[in-house]
């Protein structure tokens, strides 16, 4: 599946400092190729998360459109869009993403629960094994370290083997060892055919990425 953005724009209105309109993402066109790892870097506040959320169908653009194959995500009704996302787009949101009343296992099984897919427990086990968090299956998110939580979040996004994986700073505040681990996991996913988008500040990431984009004040610039 191919995810493309055409002239994607998102502006925010800031009332506080006089009513000025701030374009967080400006007329960005972009395609996410299958089976490769695409990296977006950029200064804080340059619009990376805004772009990623729009690509995930989680934030309606001010202008432009997002196409999954040739379906315009924001022309769909919420039910269809949610079903599409659940099935085809894995999202690793920035920051804390655990549901605190569920165990790690249940957190990872969430996409299966939401779509009514049964019998995903072995898949979840296998993912936890690969992420090195198998012995935490019964723990609650509150008991996890930042790195463990991030890996849980990635396992959740990968559970239903989505064709597209969007990860927002999955290595933020992780130590080198955990960073390397997460990056190689994403690399493996890309090698297995997934279209992976990695938004990160991490310098190391370049070594894993097939191509790198730089986001600068809402505009994307090809770096390599």
């Amino acid at each position: 599946m191919r995810l493309t953005a055409e002239k994607l724009t998102r502006s925010f209105t800031r009332v506080r400092q006089g009513t000025n309109i701030l374009p967080a993402v400006k007329e960005t066109s972009f395609a996410l190729p299958e089976g490769s790892l695409t990296e977006i870097t950029g200064r804080s506040g340059s619009g990376k998360s805004t772009l990623l959320h729009m690509l995930a169908g989680l934030l309606r653009p001010t202008a432009g459109c997002v196409l999954l194959d040739d379906r315009d995500l924001y022309a769909l009704d919420d039910r269809t869009l949610s079903a599409l996302r659940a099935k085809h787009i894995g999202v690793v949101p920035q920051g804390q993403t655990g549901l605190r009343s569920l165990t790690v296992m249940e957190n990872i099984l969430l996409p299966a629960m939401l779509t009514g897919v049964k019998g995903m427990e072995p898949e979840a086990e296998a993912l936890m094994e690969r992420m090195g968090i198998a012995d935490l299956r019964g723990a609650k998110p509150g008991e996890l370290s930042g790195g463990e939580m991030r890996r849980m979040s990635i396992a959740r996004a990968m559970l239903l083997r989505p064709e597209i994986l969007l990860a927002d700073e999955p290595t933020g505040d992780l130590d080198d060892e955990n960073t390397a681990r997460v990056l190689s996991l994403l690399r493996q996913a890309a090698d297995a055919g997934t279209a992976v988008l990695l938004v990160t500040h991490e310098q190391e990431a370049k070594r894993y990425a097939d191509r790198v984009w730089r986001m600068d004040a809402g505009a994307l610039v090809m770096e390599t």
Binding site: A56, L58, R60, R85, K87, V91, Q94, R100, P111
Partner: protein, 400 residues
């Protein structure tokens, strides 16, 4: 649907303190509406039954009896009443135009008997002419009411050998009356002959302050007015033509209580309404705060593929679980309090009090549960709409 219930149950279980607080609030609401309705209905039912039970259109008592108060006392509180008039008044009353039937009663004394927690009122009646007591014998007794045979009110505990001992005389219980929720439930009825013997026995034992000759006096005369006659006219006629008596319209005695009752029911309804309004408001705010605080979790659910509808359903489900669990606790608590203490509540309020029948009770429980479910939908509707509408992308970038 099962997933939604499962998830919401886990969410509640993950924050047991809050869930418990919300359930307690819901239980309080359920308690208020259920207990309040039961009390209201019990009052109405008690009054209705008492109205039927009186059976007579007019009650005639000695003028000296300051009728209203004493009669009310006897009927409702089971307080002792001692007033007597000549037996010849019975015939005088019977002679009046429009009187279809008369039957005398003799209030003897109230006494503590081994069987019972409250005082019993011994009442003599005439089985031959009676039209107010025998129709209400519960275990339809068809035989004669002979010497030392008694009929007892519903509050009298009937022991294995069916006897009660008064002043050393064993009396045989031949029937028990249906419950009225009033002082009549503590009455013991015997025929005139038995009452005479009991008076003699009490005098022998020096236990009777009032010396009465049972064959020459009566305490009250119950009157049934013939069809086609105006009760008020017959009543005035008796008051005018029969000396030293006061005729009271039976329904008047009750109408005083009925007024009180209407007022009491009004107060109860107002209280319930107030409690619900306040409770719903608090729960709505608390629920809204709780979901707003968790909006990031809901955003994560969206990112994992949940639709807006699913989020809304999740929030509704949580509120429904809380409210239904609360309803069950509240109803159970109310039942535990109202059932065993209904007699105490009745005498504390000083009005006839008769619990609704079991089917009515069950229907009331179901209605309470339904009301709580509706409350659940109400308190969560705002939260559900707000969370379902929120822009996931914006929430996810907050608080990083």
């Amino acid at each position: 649907m099962r997933l939604i219930l499962q998830l919401s149950r886990k969410n509640l279980a993950g924050r047991p303190g809050r869930a418990a607080a919300m359930i307690a609030l819901a239980a309080f609401l359920a308690f208020a509406i259920f207990a309040g309705s039961v009390v209201s209905m019990s009052l109405q039912r008690g009054l209705g039954t008492l109205e039927n039970r009186l059976g007579a259109d007019i009650i005639v008592v000695p003028a000296s009896a300051k009728s209203q108060f004493n009669v009310n006392d006897i009927l409702l509180q089971g307080n002792p009443g001692y007033f007597y008039m000549d037996r010849e008044k019975l015939d005088k009353i019977a002679e009046r135009e429009g009187v279809a039937a008369v039957s005398p009663q003799l209030y003897l004394a109230s006494m503590v008997a081994s069987c019972c927690s409250s005082r019993l009122q011994l009442i003599g009646f005439d089985p031959e002419t009676d039209f107010t007591i025998l129709p209400w014998v519960r275990e339809s007794y068809r035989g004669e009411i002979g010497l030392y045979d008694i009929l007892v009110g519903a509050n009298v505990t009937v022991s294995g050998d069916y006897t009660l001992r008064f002043y050393g005389i064993d009396c045989r219980i031949v029937g028990q009356l249906e419950k009225t929720g009033s002082g009549l439930d503590n009455a013991v009825y015997a025929n005139w002959e038995t009452i005479e013997k009991l008076i003699e026995a009490s005098e022998e034992k020096n236990l009777n302050k009032y010396s009465v000759k049972a064959d020459s006096v009566v305490s009250s005369v119950l009157v049934r007015v013939a069809d086609g006659y105006d009760i008020e006219q017959v009543l005035n006629d008796i008051n005018l033509r029969v000396r030293k008596v006061t005729a009271v319209r039976a329904s008047n005695m009750i109408s005083g209580i009925a007024e009180n009752l209407t007022r009491l029911s009004g107060v109860i309804s107002l209280l319930i309404a107030g409690v619900w309004l306040l409770g719903l408001l608090i729960m709505m705010i608390a629920f809204s705060m709780m979901t707003q605080e968790r909006k990031r979790e809901f955003a994560v659910l969206r990112a994992a593929g949940a639709s807006r509808r699913q989020l809304g359903a999740l929030i509704f489900a949580e509120a429904l679980i809380v409210c239904c669990a609360g309803a069950v606790f509240g109803i159970a608590l109310a039942a535990l309090i109202v059932w065993p203490f209904s007699t105490a509540i009745g005498s504390a309020l000083g009005v006839p009090f008769l619990l609704p029948s079991l089917p009515t009770m069950l229907a009331l429980m179901a209605a309470t549960l339904a009301a709580c479910a509706v409350a659940g939908v109400l308190i969560s509707s705002i939260s559900a709409v707000r969370i379902a509408r929120q822009d996931t992308g914006l929430i996810l970038r907050e608080g990083n």
